[in-house]
């Protein structure tokens, strides 16, 4: 018998590193020397728990800065398409970013190093995790409980799990796979949800829908 699913919750607090970049070359140089993977994580993933507009033009902080403050739409688009979920390590994502920036700098139409309207400020975060003492013992209750989860819980189990666990996937799928293959299809369907382009409330709804649909099809 699988262990009950322990619903945890989390809250994030942003910390300024004091480092900043005033142009693209400085951004590239800071990325080269950056040793804290938490900074990449913050600028790619933590945005989901931070103030942002409902219809952002670009999904990560680097792409948004390149467009809004350097006005380089071509590079902003290329950075925006980088999906952090594709990278097991934040370091790999960092190297990919450096590559994309350097390719852009080598292009003929690239305007060399204009100053940004506003600097890019590098940040990281601290995450505080706490137990809600809520447990789920039956996957059939999953949708009902997810619908009531805080956005912190959704972030912890669906986003944070990707850097916390060896499997690099979400906690719900890992738990469902503990039922000796019974819920393998549902776990696959949850894995297939792309978490990067939605806000957390939308993600919560999407999770609920996927689980509800699965059980409505007559699965047990």
């Amino acid at each position: 018998m699988n262990q009950p699913f322990a619903v945890l919750d989390c809250a994030l607090i942003a910390i300024a590193t004091g480092q900043k970049a005033h142009d693209l070359r400085e951004l590239r140089d800071r990325l080269i020397t950056m040793s804290d993977p938490g900074i990449m994580y913050y600028h790619f993933w933590d945005a989901l728990l931070r103030p942002r507009f409902v219809d952002p033009e670009y999904q990560n902080d680097f792409a948004a800065w390149v467009w809004h403050d350097l006005h380089d739409r071509r590079l902003a688009e290329r950075l925006s398409i980088l999906n952090p979920a594709d990278y097991r390590l934040m370091d790999d994502l960092r190297h990919k970013m450096i590559e994309v920036i350097e390719e852009r700098m080598d292009e003929e139409d690239f305007m060399f190093y204009p100053d940004a309207d506003h600097p890019f400020f590098f940040c990281r975060s601290q995450i505080v995790i706490f137990d809600t003492h809520f447990r789920i013992d039956d996957p059939r209750k999953l949708s009902e409980i997810i619908a009531q989860m805080s956005l912190g819980s959704i972030f912890y189990h669906f986003i944070d799990s990707r850097r916390r666990t060896h499997s690099g996937i979400n906690d719900f799928s890992v738990w469902l796979r503990g039922f000796e293959g019974v819920y393998e299809v549902l776990a696959d369907e949850i894995d297939a949800i792309d978490p990067y382009f939605d806000s957390l409330p939308v993600l919560r709804n999407e999770l609920v829908t996927v689980v509800e649909k699965y059980f409505k099809k007559g699965n047990h």
């Binding site: 910390i15 942002r52 940040c123 706490f130």
Partner: protein
Amino acid sequence: MGCKLDQYAEVAGREVIDHLRQLAEPMKGINVVHVNSTREGGGVAEILHRIIPLQQELGINAKWEVITGDPEFYQCTKKMHNALQGDRLYIPETLLKQYEATNRRNYERLQSVLEAADMVYIHDPQPAPLLSLCSNRKGKWIWRCHIDASRPYRPVWKYLRRFVEGYDASIWSLTDFAQPMPHPLYIIPPSIDPLSEKNMELGKKEIEKIYEQYELDPQRPILVQISRFDRFKDPVGVIQAYRMAKAFVPRLQLVLAGGGATDDPEGKDVLIEVMDYSDDDPDIHVLLLPPDAHRTVNALQRISDIALQKSLKEGFGLTVTEAMWKAKPVIGGNAGGIRLQVINHHTGFLVDTPEGAALRIRYLLKNRENLEVMGRRAKEYVRENFLLTRHLREYLTQMVAVMRGSLERIQL
């Protein structure tokens, strides 16, 4: 007082309140002291009025202490405030001595409270030297800077820095404002209280009474800027923008309304400048409001067509948040926290000049449908990001983080 947190569930959601209660669990019973320099007037006092009762309701023994001083002290701290915002101001040695002596006198009064506290929040530069005086402290000390210190006047910052770098951490409203220091620099934007008198829903009669009270014509468009009479809020620039727009929209009315803060000695001078500049225009209404005129401010924001906050420098700009909560598009100065709230072309417009403000005023008054859409978006943006519940959550998270050290992950 009843269970105030539960009232927020109606606005922010039940799960948000449950989340706060669980997060606060490990802090139950700890002694927290907030110290600032005014009980009334300005955004800091307002935030403390709201957040301290909620911390208490979560089981934290939160207190609020106010330091006091003579006019020379406030003259010094006002200069300090302006210098942190970038003004190249010389502060005479005599005033700095007065600043330090005032802190010593206040420390003698507050010593036992400060020594016993588990966590002390010192707000802004006025009480900053208290840490250096508290040699028997047992708790963690946090310096909370509410000011846009992104480009401080260096000699003044150098003087102040020696008082603040010894803190265990500092809190800033935006990353842009944070000055590098040898401790963690936490980023916590402020918030508004949707249940306060300044932001709650008002009855139709109360709103309509405002037209009569201030001789405003409900049939004609109204621009409103709510802010202290402070040069950084650029009230003269607002009048210039109004005049340029009025050439195209002759029926336009402008309200410049604000109160004075007890720690702001320049307010009177700026008010006189503004009155002079308004040149007896009957459609410019300059209102000096008492510090408790929260419902009046609420009603003025609600009767406005467009809210202005044309600041040249701004800490966060809570008046922007307040206006957005009332579904008003905001034309804001491209400064400080206004940039975080006014999403250009979505929740309002960011402008750098009176000309830019005039152009956007004309655009919005001509395109009423866009004005309404922007206003609705503004309200939702505030609901998701700038309500008191989010602010409280971040304070609690920061408290846990400071008490548990600088670990990236803290499991309670």
